[in-house]
């Protein structure tokens, strides 16, 4: 009898064995020395049938609380994911397709990626974008490697206001690379261009900043862009794609490399993965950009088509001289982002951004009206802000969760001197009544 997902039957296996010229399946493994072989059965739970699997998975999923009102940010946001997106992602033709190395039968994937690259360039102001990298954090690391390679510099100036996880991943990636990371100090939660100027020099490979930064504060990108304009080092900006619906494109402000986390573009939160690292670069850096890239071309009959191109930068050809070791992109996530950007269009994206900003501003007002709650950083921000509480944030967060609100992220877990601070994010999905309800609950918790 056949097993599930194993179509060959006994009679078919016998025919196959006969064609091969062996008596039994074991004969196909018997040349492997006994001492190398595993005997018996792996110690795994007994197999379960599909209906039981569904029950089990529903039970597991049921142990996660997704009912509480979500004010969490820190790179992953509860933006609305339009229904149409999953219908496109669920098409077998997209999700069960292989990497488009045979372009004649992969034009669907290739054209979709080309469109994605185009949309990203429009959004970020980059001259060219790749087909995606793993996530916002590794994208920063890849940008740093690109800068070290392109400029032959050895120092990287990195904003202290960049997401701590991104900085940690950067440190991990550069550990064996022999480059120096200099963390730039902050004032009022953001960078000061004047404080950076004295640190510049010919050995600086890049200035790497995030805007809106980890605290939600908008950095002074025009000033930083001017600072770096005459420098050999690259100006790298990590950003939020929704913010770019209403904020100027970093490419227009002098950024040489623009990166970020694309989860906000129609991808589910899914406990932090899969995500979407996006990267766009200035024209002079196109051949140094890591990751897959799709280009337009024509076939012999003059029909427009698309192919993976500039592959000689990649691991499967350059091997140890590759621009990166990256093999896959996050194709299906990039597809989700393309569908999202197509559904939204410029007006929709602007509205998502405007609503997020307006609701965040309203929430900020409401929360700081609660006695004891302070606002440590004033000034322009986007969709996220820091609140200082009269008690340890972890305690407040736990109490608020009991009341049905994920009020924010405990900043004490990232910054030892911010134990009483939390980071709150507000998207277009939050309603006024949810915000008011949260403020009321916070008032009770702090009373």
């Amino acid at each position: 009898m056949s097993k599930h997902y194993l179509p060959n039957t006994g009679p078919q296996r016998r025919q196959i064995l006969q064609a091969i010229g062996v008596g039994a399946v074991e004969d196909l493994f018997s040349y492997i020395p006994e001492k190398l072989r595993f005997s018996g059965l792996l110690n795994l739970p007994d197999p379960i049938a599909e209906p039981q699997l569904v029950d089990h998975m529903e039970e597991l999923a049921g142990k996660n609380n997704v009912e509480a009102v979500n004010f969490l940010g820190g790179g992953i946001y509860d933006h609305y994911v339009p229904a149409a997106i999953d219908h496109v992602l669920s098409r077998s033709e997209f999700y069960t397709a292989y990497t488009p190395y045979q372009p004649e039968v992969s034009q669907g994937t290739l054209q979709a990626i080309f469109e994605y690259q185009s949309m990203l360039c429009q959004l970020t102001g980059a001259a060219a974008a790749n087909a995606s990298l793993y996530d916002g954090a590794t994208t920063v690391a890849e940008a740093a490697l690109l800068a070290l390679n392109a400029t032959k510099g050895r120092r990287l100036l990195v904003a202290g206001s960049m997401h701590p996880s991104y900085r940690q991943v950067l440190a991990t990636y550069l550990e064996d690379f022999g480059a120096e990371i200099e963390e730039l100090p902050l004032e009022g939660g953001k960078l000061k261009a004047e404080a950076i100027a004295p640190r510049l020099g010919n050995d600086v490979a890049a200035l790497i900043v995030q805007s809106p930064n980890f605290f939600g504060i908008i950095e002074d990108l025009p000033a930083l862009g001017k600072l770096m304009a005459a420098e050999k080092g690259l100006f790298v900006v990590a950003t939020d794609p929704i913010a770019l619906g209403i904020l100027e494109a970093p490419g227009a402000l002098g950024a040489d490399v623009i990166t970020g986390e694309g989860q906000s573009l129609g991808i589910n939160q899914s406990f932090g993965g899969p995500l979407l690292g996006f990267m766009g670069v200035a024209d002079k850096l196109v051949r140094k950009m890591p990751g897959r890239v799709v280009g337009q071309t024509a076939d012999a009959k003059g029909r427009r088509g698309f192919v993976l191109t500039l592959q000689t930068r990649e691991q499967h050809i350059r091997r140890e001289k590759a621009t990166s070791n990256i093999c896959s992109n996050q194709a299906l996530c990039a597809l989700a982002a393309s569908v999202y950007m197509s559904l939204m269009g410029p007006q929709g994206l602007r509205e998502v951004a405007a609503q997020s900003l307006a609701k965040a501003a309203f929430a900020r007002e409401q929360m700081t009206a609660v006695p004891g709650v302070e606002l440590p950083f004033a000034g322009p921000f986007f969709k996220e802000f820091v609140l200082k509480l009269p008690q340890p944030a972890a305690k407040v967060i736990a109490a608020m969760a009991d009341k049905g609100y994920y009020v924010g992220i405990d900043l004490g877990r990232f910054f030892p001197d911010m134990n009483n601070c939390l980071l709150m994010a507000v998207t277009e999905k939050r309603s006024k009544s949810e915000i008011l309800g949260c403020a009321a609950a916070l008032r009770e918790v702090l009373a």
């Binding site: 004649e104 039968v105 054209q111 469109e115 690379f177 609503q355």
Partner: protein, 484 residues
């Protein structure tokens, strides 16, 4: 140029929208006042202005241009293009998983943490390792992580002489690229007459500057290297470690465990061996497994089980650090978990048995028409050479394109580099005999055509929506985006 399909930008109609957003409830007029005035967006991005119907029609039409497993066979060596079970798609979309933010207080994510913990246990058991991290999100990412762990281990021992990674000449391109990314020099080890690692060359090149040897077993020729014990002794003897590239794990599930054969670090590809979908190029998942002496160096956080349930532990002072913003590709890992729960130990063993069976079947039936360099039993994949056909002017590239006319995706071509005009064939266990027969007949026909009527092969593909594309032009003058 005539387009096969318009770009979505070319379908824009000014003012058309495809979205439905919640009520603003607050005035949005003048909201830009809250932003720094020199950073207010002056020109909105030129994204498509289309209706939802336009979007759906566009992407559905695009999708129809793709080959995919649900439509047809992919005998791609080293890729393990097996069937993607549908129930796994359903369960990964459960709201309790899909809508879970990674930074919720841990008591609210017990289901997710339990899944990660259990899957790590299962993968450790399957690979014969002592601990696994699900953080790496791709095979190459797993390699990078594994190599960093190895380097951290040597550093912690006070050994700063290790500067080289040994890689067989048949290795996948990510291996040397990953080694270069950790600042190591790459030295190639030759293959012997049997297609396996030359012990002589390995001995000559192994010394106390070698950090590790990266291997896959079975190798990229689909051959199991029975000398793995001797290989391990040579490398360990010089103080180096043995790294297992799990790309070919589909051949040995429940039959051989890399951890039992001397490997210290492994990475697995869940999007190959464990049925998670390829997605047209990702997202995948490349977990890393280690032996106990390397556990302290695993990336953080680790999921641990305590009295109060599962939690995330960052307290590993010797860890290589973070390699991902959160915990890896969780939604991909859900699918692998479900796969393992449904198959169980017996099912996984049957997977490898059928994978090896199917590959040997195709090899037996094609080895007369095409050159087979290593004529002996293979594992889950094998490599043919088109060098006989080359004598008639027909290359592997042409054979690949001709297969498209049969509704078949070609095998992996021009890899491994040590075989001339290589075609690497891996059918996987999820194909029935009739599919294998269809592929065999197509290959035999093409071999005949190469002899009698080579023009039809050289001019292929004839029936695909688009024919061979000008890749030289694409690389010389790259056009990487739409311009208005």
């Amino acid at each position: 140029m005539k387009p096969v399909l318009p770009l979505i930008f070319e379908k824009s109609v000014a003012g058309r929208i495809g979205y439905s957003l919640p009520a603003a409830e607050l005035p949005l007029e003048g909201i830009e006042q809250l932003l720094p005035q020199d950073q207010v967006r002056q020109k909105l991005p030129l994204l498509p202005e289309v209706s939802e119907g336009d979007v759906i029609r566009h992407y559905i039409n695009l999708s129809l241009l793709n080959h995919n497993i649900d439509r047809g066979f992919y005998p791609l060596g080293s890729c393990t293009m097996k069937y993607n079970p549908k129930v796994n798609e359903d369960v990964s979309r459960l709201p309790g998983f899909a809508r879970l933010h990674p930074l919720v207080p841990e008591e609210n994510a017990q289901g997710a943490l339990e899944l990660i913990y259990q899957l790590e246990q299962y993968l450790a058991e399957i690979s014969g390792m002592d601990a696994v991290s699900l953080q790496p999100v791709a095979g190459a990412h797993g390699e990078l992580t594994g190599l960093k762990i190895i380097l951290a281990y040597h550093k912690a021992r006070g050994d700063s002489r290790r500067q080289t990674i040994l890689v067989p000449d048949s290795a996948h391109g990510t291996n040397p690229a990953s080694a270069a990314m950790v600042g190591m020099k790459v030295v190639q080890v030759a293959s012997d007459a049997n297609g396996c690692v030359s012990l002589e060359d390995l001995r000559a090149k192994t010394d106390d500057t070698v950090a590790a040897l990266m291997l896959t077993n079975p190798n990229t020729l689909g051959l199991f290297d029975v000398n793995i014990g001797a290989i391990a002794d040579i490398v360990h003897g010089a103080g180096g470690l043995l790294y297992y590239d799990g790309a070919n794990a589909n051949a040995i599930l429940g039959k051989v465990r890399p951890g039992d054969t001397g490997f210290d670090v492994v990475h697995l590809n869940l999007h190959k061996t464990f049925s998670t979908p390829h997605g047209g190029g990702g997202p995948g998942s490349g977990p890393v497994g280690v032996k106990s002496q390397l556990i302290p160096f695993l990336p953080v956080p680790r999921v641990v089980q305590g009295g109060e349930g599962y939690s995330l532990d960052y307290n590993y002072p010797q860890s290589i650090g973070k390699i991902h913003s959160f915990y890896g590709n969780f939604a991909v890992n859900i699918r692998a978990y479900a796969y393992i729960r449904m198959l169980g130990a017996e099912g996984l063993k049957a997977v490898s048995e059928d994978a090896v069976l199917n590959a040997n079947y195709i090899q037996a039936r094609l080895k007369d028409a095409y050159h087979l360099e290593y004529d002996r039993l293979c594992m889950h994949e094998f490599v043919l050479s088109a060098k006989r056909q080359l004598a008639k002017g027909v290359k592997t590239l042409d054979i690949a394109k001709r297969l498209l006319d049969f509704g078949l995706h070609p095998p992996t071509v021009y890899f491994p580099l040590i075989i001339e005009e290589a075609m690497m064939i891996e059918p996987t266990e999820t194909e029935g005999k009739e599919t294998l027969d269809y592929f065999i007949e197509a290959m035999l026909q093409i071999a005949r055509e190469a002899e009698e009527n080579p023009e039809i092969v050289l001019g292929a593909p004839h029936t695909t929506p688009i024919s061979r594309l000008d890749e030289v032009g694409a690389a010389r003058n790259p056009v990487l985006k739409w311009q208005p």
